[in-house]
Structures are given as C-alpha cells and as structure tokens.
C-alpha cells in the first residue's frame, strides 16, 4: 500500500469518526427533543385520559410497525407497548402515555437507524484490508 493510499484511508477514517460523532449527537438531540416534547405535552393542555392514552398507543404501534418493516425494531419497544396497554387497563393513563411515547420514539429511531444504512458500508478498519 502506498503512502498516499494510507493517507486516504486515514482521511476516510477521520471522516467516519466525525460522522459517527455527528450521528450520535443527532440521535441525542432527537431523543432530548422527543423527551421535551412529550413532557411539554403532558404538562400542557393534553390530559392523561383514556382517549389520549389510546392515541399514544396507536402512534407507538404505527412507529413500531414502521421500524419492523425495515428490520430495525429495538428489543424493548414491544414490551413498552404491552405495558402501556396494561397501564390503561389499570387506569394509570399518565404511565400509559409515558410508555407509549417511549415506544414511539424508539420506533422512529429504529426506523431511521435502519434506513440511514440502506447501503452497505464496509467500515474503514476492515476496508483497509481489501
């Protein structure tokens, strides 16, 4: 491998590192945004009643399905939804909404995670071996 190739690979690695960092912060931003959004929703005019809970669960299920359609579902999303439904049965609508919102955000993130990698990328540490 020539020096130039090595330099290029290093450049590519640096770029990947930066991208990873960017992605991580983007994910954090999304999560924070969602958290802020859902708390605002709860604190604001939205009431923690049965109808709101049921809507939140419907949204969560749609997000879960979307993630699953690209094999991007996360491990606990289904569990959150199941527990949200249980909370509705027990009349704890605030808990149900909290869980459903968590599941919805996981569904969205899992979907984005999968589609953002729709093209195969061999990571730089291995790419250098070809």
């Amino acid at each position: 491998m020539s020096l130039l190739d090595k330099y290029r690979i290093r450049q590519a690695e640096n770029l990947e590192k930066t991208m990873n960092r960017v992605q991580r912060w983007a994910a954090v931003a999304i999560v924070l945004g969602l958290m802020a959004g859902s708390t605002a929703l709860l604190a604001g005019e939205m009431k923690a009643d049965a109808a709101t809970a049921s809507e939140a669960i419907t949204r969560a299920e749609a997000a879960q399905k979307k993630a699953d359609s690209v094999n991007g579902e996360w491990r606990d999303t289904g569990k959150f939804i199941k527990n949200a439904k249980k909370a509705v049965e027990e009349g704890d609508y605030a808990k149900a909404i909290r869980l459903a919102n968590k599941a919805e955000s996981e569904g969205n993130l899992g979907y984005q995670q999968a589609v953002s990698q729709s093209k195969l990328e061999i990571p730089s540490y291995l790419k250098a071996m070809y």
Binding site: L4, D5, R8, I9, A12, A27, D68, N71, G72, E73, W74, R75, D76, T77, G78, E106, G110, Q113, A114, Q117, L120, E121, I122, P123, Y125, L126, K127, M129, Y130
Partner: protein
C-alpha cells in the same frame, strides 16, 4: 488534477470493497485478524475466544476433559436411528449418514434459499408427517450434537455458486446484516467481533468472526443456558444484548447471515459440539 485523482482513488477504494466477492471478504477478514493476532495459527480460530484468551482457555481445556455435551450426542444418536411413525427415518432423508454438517449451509437451487442443517432436518420430519423441532432450544440440539460429533474433522467449504445470482444476493444480504448497526446500542456484529475483537465485554473476550461456525451446537455454562443451544439461539442472544429485536430463528435473515458468516470459516475443520462460557 490532484483533487480529481484523489476522488478517483477514493471511488476506487469504495467500489472495490462494496463489490468484493466472498473470497475477497474472507481474505480481508483473515488479514485483519492476522494483523491483530500475529501469533495465532489459522486452525486455532476454530476455538473462538480461547484462541486469544489464555486464561479462559485453561478453564475450557479442563471442561473439555469431561465434555458436558456428551449426553446430548448420545440422545442424538438414538434420535438418528429411531424410525418415525411411518417407519422411515433420518437415514432415509440423509443417505450419506450422519457426517454431513460440512454440507451446510448451502445454496438450494430448487427452493431458492439458503439451506441450513436444522432446516433440512425439519424438512425431513415434515415430509414424513413428524412435527418440526423448535430451532433454538430442546431436542434439535440432540440430533445436531450427534451430527456435529460425527462430522468432526470435515472441512468447511461453503460455496456461493456464480451461475445463480440469487445465491450471491443471499450472501450479500447476510453480509449487509453483519455490518448493520442495530438496537438501542447502535452496534453491528462487526463492531464487537471485528473492530473490538480481543477486548472484554463484561467477563467475556470478544472472539473473531472467523471460526464462529465450526462448533455448533454449543454447550454454554451460563446460567440461562446450562445446556446445548443452536447457532441461531446465539444470534438471538447477540442481537438482544445490543437491545435489538432478534429475527426469527431459521428465518431468511439469520439463514443468510449464517451463509455469509460460514463462508468466512472456509478451510477450517469442524469441531462441534463445542463448549463455551
């Protein structure tokens, strides 16, 4: 001009690895591990983490003196020899005898899918009106243990036939799975088993992908195993650890993954059943 050359070179590097065939992939993995573990001989990769973890290895060698998977092999032999309700048996489906693990996974042209040994066993059962076996836990591990034991010493030789593009597509699908980051932890298989091989996760040393498929099914002493389990059960566990929803055992995703992963072990000898932590 210089800029153009650089972009051309970058394009070339990208194009080469994106289109690399199975053999190029295997060589790249081996070169990577050789660089990381220059003193580990090739055949040692069949021993997984114990090729690179001297402390764990001592423990493992002691365990192998009284193999915990032995009763599974014995039960598997009984299964192999016992006729089904209709009088036929596994022997009729697999006339070459039980030493057949090295023939899987293979591309099945007629069905247009990756045929694995567990799937072949269940197709045999179904064809003879027997209930299929579960793919992760239970009796499938008995018969797999027997077949693995009988197949010891056979050499992994996975083929991706060039004249059927569906085979290459299945291989590519498995490869894509291997490098796709999943779950809340955003890890791919490669993050742990390539990038971080040799490092410790909790109490375990991460093993190289080369050698990952030579020794199934595996007896694991871990509390929630304490028994012999299948390769797809292991895939499930690794997916759950990164908080991703696992795929269905013996579904197309995991079978294609097995196809890719098995190709990487071409040339290694089968040494199953195995014992791991």
């Amino acid at each position: 001009m210089k800029k153009l050359l650089i972009s051309l070179a970058v394009l070339l590097v990208t194009a080469v690895s994106a289109q690399a065939g199975p053999e190029e992939d295997r060589m790249a993995f081996i070169k990577y591990y050789k660089g990381k573990f220059p003193n580990v001989p090739m055949e040692e990769y069949a021993n997984g983490a114990y090729a690179i973890d001297p402390v764990g290895r001592e423990n493992w060698e002691a365990i192998e003196e009284f193999p915990p998977y032995e009763p599974f092999i014995d039960r598997g032999q009984v299964m192999w020899e016992k006729p089904f309700a209709n009088g036929k048996g596994y022997k009729d489906c697999f006339p070459d005898g039980p030493a057949i693990a090295h023939n899987y996974p293979r591309w099945d042209r007629e069905q247009g899918l990756v045929m694995t040994l567990p799937l072949a066993l269940n197709q045999c059962r179904k064809a003879n009106s027997e209930k299929p076996l579960k793919y992760k836990k239970g009796p499938i591990n008995d018969i797999l243990s027997y077949i693995a034991f009988q197949s010891r010493g056979k050499v992994v030789n996975v083929e991706v036939p060039k004249d059927d593009p569906r085979a290459m597509a299945a291989y590519e699908d498995g490869k894509k799975f291997y490098f796709t980051r999943r779950g809340q932890l955003n890890f791919s298989c490669a993050t742990c088993h390539v990038q971080n091989t040799g490092l410790k996760v909790r109490t375990e040393i991460l093993s190289p992908s080369v050698g990952h498929i030579t020794h199934w099914p595996v007896y694991r002493s871990k509390v929630d195993w304490g028994t012999v389990g299948t390769l797809h059960r292991r895939f499930t566990g690794c997916n759950k650890n990164i908080r991703a929803k696992p795929m269905k055992a013996q579904g197309p995703e995991y079978r294609n993954l097995e196809y890719f992963l098995s190709y990487l072990s071409n040339g290694l000898e089968l040494n199953g059943p195995g014992a791991r932590k």
